[in-house]
Symmetry: C2
């Protein structure tokens, strides 16, 4: 009986030992829909739950909270970009915890360019990965998007990614 | 044209910037099948591609290479355990790079007990997570198993997990 009562805590505590980096995941609705919304309708969010899922074809899984702007935008565009946060850019985490706004060609204060998928690619990240969705698992409170990599780039090959244990903020449990 | 030629390298280089921990994933075939094989038919492997996928229900994704003993065993048992490797147990990585063998109640040299799912739980890990498979994505060279957490435990709440950047071995790209 005690074990049942404690079960959720045990599960949560163990899940907190999974290691993640930090990723600013972005997406943009396609142009037809854009015309009925703001011209720069983009969504972005800080995401931890990212993993590769295959070498050939190159697949990546990204779990995004349902009922979020980012989730809605990815559902419609079927595309997203993963901007890998570097060790020196802890400031991105709090900036992208807020709603997404584009002002003066900056997304939440960070300059960007449009990727091949239309998703914003932040200028200040060590590397980025763009994906098109191939499969989707929707049984949980996050959708697990399985994306095939259609474009990628590295801006700073030597830059070290930011790891959750260093940032002192953990998403999971 | 140059971009096409370089594409694979660019994709690989960017994918190498995703951060992972290390996990010894284990599974055991159920008893009916066990009778036709060794009595301790278990499979284990060092896996990097692990991520949480939902809080409620608690889901975890694990990508396992097709054509491996571990993959075959999980496919049959529909269950697995994730043993989280601690910073002080880098030695586990090379031990579990070999074929799985059970001798003197040790799995590849490490003592273990059977978890709720029958999967071996290593005594020397900070925490473990046991899952039953709910969904499976098979379009790549790895199967992405989406497991629901059915049991979990922490042996050492203060232990720090081993991160790939520290171990100098990266799976991905």
């Amino acid at each position: 009986m005690d074990r049942e009562i404690n079960k959720n805590n045990e599960v949560s505590q163990a899940l907190k030992k999974i290691t993640y980096g930090y990723y600013i995941v972005t997406s943009r609705k396609d142009s037809e829909e854009m015309s009925t919304r703001d011209k720069d309708f983009v969504a972005a969010g800080t995401i931890s739950w990212v993993s590769q899922g295959s070498f050939e074809p190159p697949l990546v899984t990204v779990a995004v909270k349902k009922q979020s702007d980012l989730h809605e935008t990815i559902e419609k565009s079927r595309k997203f970009a993963i901007n890998i946060v570097g060790k020196d850019h802890k400031d991105m985490l709090s900036s992208f915890a807020k709603d997404s706004t584009v002002e003066d060609n900056k997304l939440n204060g960070f300059s960007f360019t449009d990727g091949k998928t239309g998703s914003p690619i932040l200028d200040d990240v060590p590397a980025f990965i763009e994906c098109e969705i191939r499969e989707e698992v929707t049984i949980g409170d996050h959708s697990i998007f399985v994306g095939e990599v259609v474009n990628a780039g590295t801006r700073d090959a030597g830059a070290v990614p930011l790891v959750e244990w260093e940032a002192g903020m953990h998403y999971g449990g």
